[in-house]
């Protein structure tokens, strides 16, 4: 386990509060956070929430899941269906988020129950294929999901709530920092929640089942129930991330964004950072998605300014090389540091033992 057995269990390491503090203060100093930059950071943090969810399955419980983005899609779509003005429900942001979490947890159980018998690789294929089925449903059930255009406009949180003469929902649209702080708060809450679970009986059971399901069963742990709980909790956290993402974008957008590529990208972030490690997962997300969402657009803008206009026909851009860059990073990591950048201590010890 990555957490030390101290009284202050919520502080797994000393730099984490510093990073969260920096993230909380930065938008107050740098004005660009009110616009595009704030939106980009919000997206990265929301993906961080999703990655934490995936880490429950792959990292803590050792179940390879290749369809996590489908739960982002289901969560986002549930929120949109419950809140868009064209539907009669319009139940408002908070109840809709809770409903998304509930629906995704239920779908997670629904996927988990029949697939528990499958071996590791088969489970990976089934979750991958499940993700494709969900994507097809989101694309094709046009009356409900809006098809390829997606469903929108999703009203922002607090729409219609007047605080001090200003519509709260309007502030969310005008200033990207509102969503930024919402995402930061959710990310912090999920970190604390998972750190609590990690130290509870359930968290220990997850790891016991990952290490040796048979041995765990002989100790009276119900392997089925423990695995199912991981399925449901991972799905619920991903659903929470999906509903936040859709709310911040104002639409569900093209359902293809919830396909295999997104699932694999989130998985890569978890593995890059360190399977089974909460700070590792966050570092992986910061590097992979920070690179993809924040650095590449910035670097490409810069590169375009640098090149003479005659090159414009085939502009040199990092964007067209990003797949290869991520691919090389993954291969190099697996070769030289398979435990990730900020590994969970137990897994690191195991991996190095296995290589000798």
């Amino acid at each position: 386990m990555s957490g030390r057995l101290s009284d202050r269990w919520w502080l797994a390491n000393s730099w984490e509060p510093a990073v969260f503090g920096l993230l909380a203060v930065a938008p107050l100093i740098i004005p660009e956070f009110a616009g595009g930059l704030g939106g980009q950071f919000t997206t990265v943090m929301i993906l961080g929430v999703a990655a934490l969810g995936l880490n429950v399955m792959v990292g803590f419980t050792g179940l390879l899941h290749l369809g996590i983005a489908a739960f982002l899609g289901i969560g986002g779509m549930t929120l949109a269906i419950l809140t868009v003005p064209t539907n009669p429900l319009e139940i408002g942001f908070l109840p809709a988020v809770l409903a998304s979490v509930g629906v995704t947890a239920a779908v997670g159980l629904f996927l988990g129950a029949p697939t528990l018998r499958l071996r590791g690789d088969y489970l990976a294929v089934v979750t991958l294929v499940f993700g494709e089925v969900v994507r097809a449903l989101l694309c094709n059930l046009e009356q409900i999901t809006g098809g390829m255009q997606g469903l929108g406009p999703v009203p922002p949180p607090g729409a219609g709530v007047i605080v001090g003469g200003v519509d709260l929902g309007r502030s969310f649209i005008v200033d990207a920092r509102w969503f930024y702080y919402l995402a930061l708060a959710v990310l912090g809450a999920v970190v604390l929640l998972l750190r609590g679970i990690e130290r509870s009986a359930l968290g220990r059971a997850w790891i016991a089942v990952r290490e040796d399901a048979l041995a765990a069963a002989t100790l009276g742990i119900s392997v089925t129930r423990v695995r199912l709980s991981a399925f449901a909790i991972a799905a619920a956290i991903a659903g929470l991330a999906g509903s936040l993402s859709v709310a911040s974008l104002g639409t569900t957008g093209d359902p293809n964004a919830f396909g295999f590529n997104r699932s694999v990208a989130i998985l890569c972030a978890v593995i890059l950072g360190g399977l089974g490690s909460i700070p590792g997962t966050l570092v992986g997300v910061a590097i992979l998605f920070g690179f993809d969402i924040v650095v590449i657009p910035w670097a490409d803008g810069w590169l375009q300014q640098l090149q003479p206009p005659t090159w414009r026909t085939e502009p040199l851009s990092l964007g067209s090389w990003r797949l290869a860059l991520v691919g090389v990073a993954l291969i190099v990591m697996m070769r030289f540091r398979p435990e990730g950048l900020v590994p969970s201590r137990r897994l690191a010890a195991e991996l190095h033992e296995a290589r000798q």
């Binding site: 050792g62 179940l63 390879l64 029949p114 697939t115 018998r117 499958l118 071996r119 590791g120 690789d121 088969y122 990976a124 294929v125 089934v126 991958l128 294929v129 499940f130 494709e132 089925v133 097809a136 449903l137 694309c139 094709n140 990952r210 040796d212 399901a213 295999f260 694999v264 998985l267 890569c268 593995i271 399977l275 067209s320 090389w321 990003r322 797949l323 290869a324 991520v326 691919g327 090389v328 990073a329 993954l330 291969i331 990591m333 697996m334 070769r335 398979p338 195991e350 991996l351 296995a354 290589r355």
Partner: protein, 305 residues
């Protein structure tokens, strides 16, 4: 559905099932020998298609006769086979071999990394849009001929059938084929000896070669190619391999034919956009009842990383 329409979908399903089966064999052989889902296999196939487009566009002006065109296609198919086989071998040598003793997740993630790199190569090679596949046999894709067999179907069959027959002979009659089958039936190759490495290399070459043949067949079948084809076709083929029971070569081919037929008929009955969902739902349902696939053997669960 009328009888001609029914027959037409059968032909369509069996031809596409044939090349899906060939790709599925690539997944299954690698899984049988090293116990790895070779996620980059679909992208190797896609690059084979890229090479075929390049070569055939060069040759197109000289294809004055359908027969000459067909011969050119056969030649290009064989070169694509060697290209994909070599590429597959190189991937194994450079990426997977150093990870032979590592826990199973490490090669799997590396496979995803290789897939990304190959996809990026395809993106730079083809651009981000669909490319038309050169039509060397006159009106191969012409809809006028579709009753119930088109020229394209015949060309695809003329590539897929010899490959399948060759594979069967190789597996039944040669020393390599017999050891391949016994390895797949008993366990993975785990001893890191020189002989094992050669054997694994040969397996990767064989899988890649069949994938290269399938890449030309698949491109003729759809008449277009794009850099995401490796992922799309590869996913169907992986579904086929798992459906048949991954590790089993006959299972992969039967799985390929089944996936081809399900896809063809769901395209007509439910509409083209439901085809993928139909195939994958069938896979999930079958796995829920028969977790080892149709022809697979029960094995002890390996510990995941």
């Amino acid at each position: 559905m009328t009888l001609p329409a029914f027959l037409q979908q059968c032909v369509l399903g069996l031809t596409s099932g044939g090349f899906l089966g060939l790709i599925a064999v690539g997944y299954t052989l690698v899984y049988g020998t090293v116990g790895l889902i070779h996620f980059a296999h679909g992208d190797v196939v896609m690059l084979g298609g890229c090479l075929a487009v390049g070569l055939l566009s060069l040759l197109a002006p000289f294809a004055f006769d359908p027969l000459v065109g067909w011969l050119m296609i056969v030649l290009v198919t064989i070169s694509c086979g060697f290209f994909c086989g070599g590429l597959n071998m190189a991937i194994d040598r450079l990426v997977y071999r150093p990870l032979r003793q590592a826990p199973p997740l490490a090669p799997l993630v590396s496979a995803v990394g290789v897939s990304f790199i190959l996809m990026n190569v395809g993106l730079l090679w083809l651009g981000s849009t669909d490319q038309a596949f050169p039509d060397l046999v006159t009106n191969a894709g012409s809809p006028a001929l579709r009753s119930p067999v088109t020229m394209a179907d015949l060309v695809v069959l003329s590539l897929v059938l010899p490959a399948l027959i060759g594979l069967a002979i190789l597996l039944q009659r040669t020393r390599f084929g017999r050891s391949l089958r016994s390895v797949a039936a008993v366990s993975r190759v785990t001893t890191p000896t020189g002989g094992a490495d050669q054997f694994i290399s040969a397996t990767f070459f064989l899988g890649g070669f069949l994938g290269g043949v399938a890449s030309v067949a698949a491109s003729i079948h759809t008449a277009t190619i794009n850099y995401q084809m490796g992922y799309q076709t590869g996913l169907y083929a992986l579904a086929a391999a798992v459906l048949g029971g991954i590790g089993s070569v006959p299972g992969a081919i039967v799985g390929g034919l089944l996936v081809g037929l399900i896809r063809a008929f769901s395209t007509v009955v439910l509409g083209p956009r439901w085809a993928a969902a139909a195939v994958f739902l069938v896979l999930i349902v079958i796995l829920a009842f028969r977790p080892e696939g149709l022809f697979g053997q029960k094995r002890r669960e390996r510990r995941p990383a």
